[in-house]
Symmetry: C2
Subunit: 368 residues, 2 copies
């Protein structure tokens, strides 16, 4: 059985590594010849819009998934039309996640609290949005944003003017800036047969728009219950198949949905060592209609992203219990090139050791 992956980044790489023990084969499609998943699985090197190669992927695979949420729906339709290969997760969920306005409307439709927002296409609309929602706020492109790219925090009308110059050529959304107490995410799977499984809540720390640290399990039981409930609403709404993640701001005990990702998620990387079944294996089980694996945590996990370059490997592994994940990417400032995970018997020990790693990396991310 061959699983196709549109996109061959680190997520595709970790999907393939989780799928080989299940006896699966993989075929990826990515424009980059040195893409991380292409180092561990066969790769069709082609643009995401290359119809001939998309058709080849469809022909060779029973089911096709994606590891990048900016793949165009049109490309995926080429796949389904070619040979009826199933696309998982559903393209409708992908479309909702690709457009921040559609995403906000979805959250509102499903009664999931979200930030106040307004669509912005003109300079005048931006002024009206600021008047209504206030400052500070965040101006974001509706599409193609990731890792903090395509967004600007506005604290003054001067900021607004500058941001408009930068981003105004695209369709935008203006959102309130939530003075959150912390950020969390919930990750879960729904299988072809309708079975669902939800992981423990993740506590996330971002810096410069990039996820730096995740701790799990995180927060009181009522956060877990509420987040899992919201996640299940989205899963059922789409008759979803695969892993879905939703990120929230927490403010005064309220969970405010920020965005969702219809794929395995960076804040779920700790599940490789820290849960009975990883998010990658459960994504594959879900899209193949296999029974979902337990999401039980095996301890208190801390995940630290490695940004820019992989630090000295021996130095990192000398800290006992550190699990390294090197994505095989060329170093570049601000690039996610790997992560490492700790699983500890207590939250206190996990926090202390995570902090130790951050210090060794000279990463000042305001943690914990």
């Amino acid at each position: 059985m061959t699983v196709g992956i549109v996109g061959a980044g680190q997520l595709g790489r970790m999907l393939a590594l989780a799928g080989y023990p299940l006896g699966l084969d993989f075929l990826c499609l990515d424009p980059a010849r040195d893409a991380p998943a292409g180092q561990v699985a066969p790769l069709l090197t082609a643009a995401f819009t290359d119809r001939a190669q998309l058709r080849k992927l469809a022909r060779r695979c029973e089911v096709v998934t994606f590891d990048w949420e900016n793949v165009s729906a049109e490309s995926l339709h080429v796949v389904t039309r070619a040979h009826g290969a199933r696309i998982c997760p559903p393209v409708a969920a992908l479309c909702a996640a690709q457009d921040r306005v559609a995403e906000k409307r979805l959250f509102e439709q499903l009664a999931i609290p979200t930030t106040r927002w307004q669509a912005v296409s003109t300079r005048a609309q931006l002024a009206r949005a600021i008047a209504r929602i206030g400052l500070p706020g965040v101006l974001k492109t509706r599409r193609l944003g990731y890792d903090g790219k395509g967004q600007a925090v506005l604290r003054s009308m001067e900021d607004a003017a500058r941001a408009w110059e930068q981003l105004g050529s695209a369709a935008l959304i203006y959102e309130e800036l939530v003075p959150f107490d912390c950020e969390v995410s919930i990750i879960g799977a729904r299988s072809v047969g309708g079975e669902t499984a939800v992981y423990p809540l993740c506590g996330n720390v971002h810096a410069g728009g990039i996820l730096r640290v995740t701790r799990a399990p995180y927060g009181p039981p009522q956060w877990q219950r509420r987040a899992a409930g919201y996640l299940r609403r989205v899963l059922e709404h789409f008759h979803y198949t695969g892993i879905l993640a939703i990120e929230f701001f927490v403010l005064g005990g309220r969970l405010i949905a920020n965005e969702m990702a219809p794929r395995v998620h960076n804040s779920g990387h700790w599940t490789i060592e820290g849960a009975a079944t990883s998010q990658f294996e459960n994504h594959l089980r879900a899209i193949l209609g296999l029974p979902l694996g337990s999401t039980r945590p095996l301890g208190h996990s801390g995940m630290v992203n490695l940004i820019g370059s992989i630090p000295d490997r021996a130095g990192l592994l000398k800290l006992g219990g550190v699990h390294l994940h090197d994505y095989g990417k060329k170093p570049r400032p601000g690039r996610k090139v790997g992560h490492c995970t700790l699983v500890e018997p207590s939250a206190a020990r996990r926090d202390a050791r995570t902090l130790r790693i951050l210090k060794d990396l000279a990463a000042d991310v305001g943690f914990p």
Copy 2:
């Protein structure tokens, strides 16, 4: 950094899957085009004695290891002579493990208790060996035996005559048949820098000469101490690098060494999910001079080999907590095609659930 693997069986496959997260690349050499490791890593398809391809392997790799203990020392010497690529584990340890007589002498030299034995090259020597050691006993080829192949249990002089017809063309060894209480194995690593790490003792059940079930941790602390001591003697003797396994019979509380394997070992597959660091990752860390990872058990593990064919995947995964490892091999009676592992909070629960899997597989192996 590229690691070469001579042999591309399931052990090579699991080495590669453990090594990708460390940022390693792999290149395998194996005569079989559909070899399990060749499905997840680049493969040179060539005989183990193909000098040109062995030299190519040496040229492309910083360090070369092997996943099959019947690779000839001569082949490995071609590798080292070609470009000075390091071979790990040391060829001297491989040579000792390849010849049952050399292995017995090594155990005796290091004061590790072993079975009574005698080398047999002629029919007359066999008669003398039986007279000295007695019946029942086991007649084995000195070389190229695995999974019970190349050996016969002798209970009578008629058995001896039959076995001689079958095996007598090769150099043989006659050993006493130990009426053991149970079988155990010890697995550990020694790194380039001399650091050692030993896993908890494994309790093994064989049937028809093939390992069927491993449970770990297993047995009282004094067995662990004694086995680890014997293992360390062999590790130090060879200035060993990588994972080494020794199998023992246990009789009246005594550990009697049966054989050793200078490689990752089937009875250590449980370490993938059941230990803080798997034997595969620690083999790679050891040969690359990286700090060894913790061998701490994460619970009570049970590993069941899947022989002949992979059973219905959904049925197997429906038993919560089962981790499947499908080696991507064609089904064939008596062939190891995969394994599955459980990690449970108690030994009793582990045993009950392992038994349940064996029942589902209709595998009658006299367990526990």
